[in-house]
């Protein structure tokens, strides 16, 4: 809310510069975001939190100034003379829905002189960004700013049958609002109507047809309270907001309604002349029931961690216009004023006292108990993976969890259900929760390529969202995209698994997902019968200048199966013996079958087998390939003799020949 520095002085005396005032207000919770000089005045932008509708008027802010710096609150004048004509002769008001309109007041002023409002008023309104219109409209705005209570003036002579009905809109009705917007009204909206038609959208905006205009002589001044939720919903549906709806949505003081009405009539009489009809129409279904709260000083102490004296606390409450009923021993009984309905508990009073006492006057204690924090397994694994990959030269990226619905983004490696759509997306580009991280990494790669960076090594640890029962399954994945060849990336994945102490062997079988991977150049990675990831060369269709490879892995599996605790293995005292071999096999024979065959050959002292390379070409018959590797022999208790190794090697070669038809390459 914008306030004028000079105007505020109407309600409270203070001797503070605008900056000092801003500081004081900020310290009690009314942040002053900006101060602008306007002629000889200052416009201050005050941020009012949604729980403080009472501060949407100058009087409310003045009350905070009193609480913060002392002094007393000056209420503006509301006295005026009336004629002896009873208001009931001019208007008949019916409130059909008292739930949505707990209080409705109307006053009538006849024979007004429409014209400009006084200069001082125009100046104040302009200072806070309101455009002066005429004396009647300006006065309703002025009083709204003063009290926080919106008002509306109708041209009395334009109301059919001298009737006001506060009712729900009927189907087919529509209205043209003062701002020119034509809106169809729906049955759940509250309107102010005359005998024939809606003349205002309750609490939001008046209608064009009955607004005060040059020809207006007699006015009806409406000052009411409307139910906040109703106003909010209608305002949202119609797409119309106003200073008035802003206040009603947050709630106005039911006891302040008549005051604001009288204040406005007083100003109208003074600056637009006219005759005020006697009395007021005041239809109300609700009276403020003042909450009574007991504050225990001991509780105040416990929550804030500081002992505040009872008289200091009660003085703060009094300055905030709480009615202190009783203060004895360790207790203060208060009655909450009508404009602070959000306060109904002891803790609310504690907050009020803390706020005015000053958060910065409460000590900063370091007396919490000592406690050692423990890293969860997830954290340990995540740190381990990140460190490993960063050590391997990878950059971590972060991409959005909400993606578009393109075929690429629709890839789902983890479930056959489709992705979860957002019901109220801002844009189609961000309308679905992702089921796969790789498309986002592909986009990151593309972004970099477009900016001249062709080689990337990136990874992300994030969730994918798989349709579930009520809430989706959130699966944490690790995805990597790198400008390396397939086997380099595979090696990195294997090393990562080893680093996490996952010793179980993985199976790598050919896999096809053509939106991501090149045909026949991708694999599913399985451990036992659990799929733990997918790896492959990026599809050429993705159109990269380079040929990156990528992998998406199941982090949850990593966390479950990792074994970070290490155990020392005694180092062998005796040397191992390496034998380099090259065998010629059919093209179809895979490395894994060779490995299996060798390891199950029952050759003595055989420890491991290490792949070197594959060779096809000269000297190798077509349809065959040569595979080179070494095998490692070692005994735990002695140095092996050459003959022993020869014998073991022969067993391996025999097994290879028998099972795979492999011949030793000479």
């Amino acid at each position: 809310m914008k306030i004028s520095y000079n105007w505020l002085k109407e309600y409270v005396n203070f001797y503070l510069s605008p900056e000092e005032l801003a500081d004081k207000l900020t310290n009690v919770g009314l942040v002053v975001a900006d101060i602008q000089t306007v002629d000889d005045d200052f416009c201050m932008e005050v941020e009012v939190t949604s729980n403080r509708p009472d501060c949407l008027g100058f009087i409310g802010i003045a009350r905070e100034v009193v609480a913060a710096v002392g002094g007393s609150l000056h209420f503006p004048e509301t006295d005026y003379k009336t004629t002896n004509k009873e208001i009931s002769k001019f208007i008949n008001v019916v409130v059909e829905d008292s739930m949505l309109c707990p209080r409705y007041t109307a006053r009538v002023v006849q024979h007004i002189n429409l014209g400009p409002s006084p200069e001082w008023m125009q100046k104040r309104l302009k200072c806070i960004g309101l455009r002066p219109v005429n004396n009647i409209v300006d006065i309703t705005n002025y009083v709204m700013m003063e009290t926080g209570q919106p008002l509306h003036a109708f041209d009395l002579d334009k109301l059919s049958d001298k009737k006001i009905v506060v009712r729900k809109a009927m189907s087919g009705e529509e209205i043209v609002a003062i701002n020119g917007a034509r809106r169809a009204l729906f049955h759940d909206m509250l309107v102010i109507a005359d005998s024939k038609r809606p003349i205002a959208i309750a609490g939001i905006m008046g209608g064009k047809e009955t607004e005060v205009c040059d020809s207006t002589r007699n006015i009806l001044l409406e000052c009411a309270q409307f139910e906040p939720r109703q106003v909010r919903r209608t305002s949202k549906t119609l797409g119309i907001t106003s200073d008035s709806s802003y206040r009603f949505e947050r709630g106005v003081d039911t006891e302040g309604v008549d005051f604001a009405s009288r204040r406005a009539v007083k100003l109208i009489k003074e600056y637009a002349g006219g005759e005020v009809a006697n009395g007021v129409i005041d239809i109300r279904s609700r009276k403020h029931a003042a909450s009574k709260i007991t504050l225990r000083m001991e509780r105040l102490h416990k929550v804030l961690g500081i002992e505040i004296k009872r008289d200091v606390a009660s003085d703060i409450l009094k300055r905030l216009q709480f009615n202190v009923l009783n203060e004895v021993d360790d207790f203060i009984d208060v009655e909450v004023p009508s404009f602070r309905e959000e306060i109904y508990r002891e803790i609310d009073l504690i907050e009020e006292i803390a706020r005015i006492y000053g958060f910065n006057n409460i000590p900063t204690k370091t007396s919490i108990s000592v406690r050692g924090s423990v890293k969860s397994k997830y954290e340990v694994v995540e740190d381990c993976i990140r460190q490993f990959l960063i050590g391997m030269g990878f950059y971590e990226v972060k991409t959005f969890s909400i993606v578009d619905t393109s075929p690429l983004q629709s890839v789902n490696l983890w479930s056959d259900k489709s992705g979860i759509d957002i019901a109220n997306p801002l844009r189609q580009e961000e309308s679905r929760l992702r089921t796969c991280l790789l498309p986002s990494l592909i986009n990151a790669k593309r972004y970099n390529e477009n900016h001249g960076i062709e080689q990337v090594r990136i990874f992300e640890i994030a969730k994918v969202y798989l349709a579930g029962d009520k809430l989706p399954q959130e699966k944490t994945c690790l995805s990597i995209l790198a400008d390396t060849d397939f086997f380099t990336l595979k090696g990195i994945v294997s090393a990562l698994l080893l680093n996490l102490g996952i010793s179980s062997r993985c199976e790598w079988t050919v896999f096809s997902e053509l939106r991501l991977f090149a045909d026949e150049r991708a694999a599913r990675i399985q451990s036992g019968n659990i799929t733990i990831g997918y790896i492959g060369e990026a599809s050429k269709e993705l159109g990269f200048k380079t040929s990156p490879c990528m992998v998406e892995l199941d982090m949850d599996y990593f966390v479950e199966s990792s074994n970070i605790s290490k155990k020392y293995q005694a180092l062998s005292q005796y040397p191992h013996v390496l034998r380099d071999l090259a065998i010629i096999v059919d093209e179809e024979v895979t490395w894994v079958s060779i490995e299996k065959c060798v390891m199950s050959a029952k050759a003595s002292f055989l420890k491991e087998i290490n792949f070197f390379d594959v060779y096809r070409g000269k000297q190798i018959p077509s349809g065959k390939k040569s595979i080179a590797f070494n095998i490692c022999f070692q005994a735990a208790d002695r140095t092996l003799k050459s003959e022993e190794v020869d014998a073991a090697q022969q067993i391996v070669l025999d097994a290879l020949y028998k099972t795979l038809g492999a011949e030793l390459r000479k």
């Binding site: 949604s50 929550v303 900063t364 370091t366 406690r371 050692g372």
Partner: protein
């Protein structure tokens, strides 16, 4: 045989006197120490001398060789410093740049989260996580934000369907944890949150928060200040000042916005702090009794505090980053800076 050696020595002395240039010295070196030089000639006669004298002769040649080498090297050194630049020799240019290994980096937001986790770990806070897709209850009701309450308008939210939404705050984790555990509780919860904000330099529909919660007997607002002050001094620097302003969050009471003195201008005012000298970095407060009620804690017995901070905001402040979108573009030129 000894005569040979003496002779060589004498000849050398004479020849040294004739050396006037580096070239002369080099020639002398070849003459005496070269492959076909005088020393090697002497070596070659070793096999021809009687076997009982070989050892001592060998030794003498060796010491002669050392002596001559020293003398000639001295000469070479002397003349090479005097002579005009000779034919250029390849130099070992130590100023050439090193070969860059692949060096990876954590994302700057991860770095911030890790730093925050580390500071709070020292204060005894464990890390907790919760789901990002939540039921309305955890995002709103349990946090004392009833349906249709005015404060709901402060929390625009992405919905999946009725009652299921993308969490708009990590405060949801408070409820998840308190439902599972009894006090004392001391956790921080980092994670992604979502709000339907149109993307610009300051807003993103997805961002990160770190939530903190401490519940125990006898926890006060003064303790909240103590813990936050400790965090701020450790994370932002010992000279940084903290300021609390009253504010409003439905799930805490009293509620505060926490500012730190602007490190850019040192509190004098600059564009980063909107000329106020203070920068807002987190929201905090004492856990509202209604939140305790939702998780069936005795609000008379236990008190606690909660706080939440925006990871992007803190990272932007720390590095002077002026556009939040940079975090999600993943430009290598950006990521490599941190």
């Amino acid at each position: 045989m000894m005569k040979h050696i003496e002779e060589v020595k004498n000849n050398l002395q004479d020849e040294i006197k004739l050396v006037t240039t580096l070239k002369d010295a080099d020639q002398l070196k070849i003459k005496y120490l070269g492959r076909k030089g005088i020393i090697n000639d002497l070596m070659r006669i070793i096999p021809t001398i009687p076997s009982d004298q070989r050892a001592s002769f060998g030794q003498q040649i060796n010491s002669l060789k050392v002596e001559i080498t020293n003398i000639i090297e001295e000469l070479i050194k002397k003349f090479s410093s005097e002579t005009v630049p000779k034919a250029k020799k390849e130099i070992f240019d130590v100023t050439l740049p090193g070969k860059h290994p692949f060096v990876g980096k954590r994302h700057p937001l991860t770095q911030t989260i890790d730093d925050i986790k580390e500071v709070f770990a020292r204060l005894g806070f464990d890390v907790a996580y919760g789901p990002e897709v939540e039921s309305e209850y955890y995002n709103f009701e349990a946090l004392n934000i009833p349906a249709d309450h005015p404060s709901r308008t402060d929390f625009d939210t992405f919905y999946i369907k009725n009652d299921v939404l993308l969490r708009s705050q990590t405060s949801t984790v408070q409820i998840r944890i308190m439902e599972k555990q009894k006090p004392p509780i001391r956790i921080i919860a980092p994670g992604r949150v979502y709000r339907p904000d149109t993307v610009d330099a300051r807003h993103s529909f997805m961002f990160h928060q770190v939530e903190g919660l401490l519940v125990d007997e006898g926890v006060s607002f003064a303790d909240l200040k103590g813990v936050l002050n400790q965090f701020i001094k450790t994370y932002f620097g010992q000279n940084v000042q903290m300021r609390l302003r009253p504010s409003f969050f439905p799930f805490t009471e009293p509620s505060a916005e926490v500012d730190i003195s602007c490190s850019i201008c040192g509190g004098n005012g600059c564009s980063v702090c909107s000329y106020s000298g203070w920068v807002e970095i987190l929201g905090a407060g004492m856990v509202d009794p209604n939140v305790f009620k939702a998780v069936h804690y005795d609000a008379e017995k236990y008190t606690g505090f909660a706080f939440g901070m925006g990871v992007e905001r803190i990272t932007m402040l720390k590095y002077g980053i002026n556009d939040i979108r940079l975090f999600y573009e993943n430009d290598m030129r950006f990521l490599s800076q941190f």
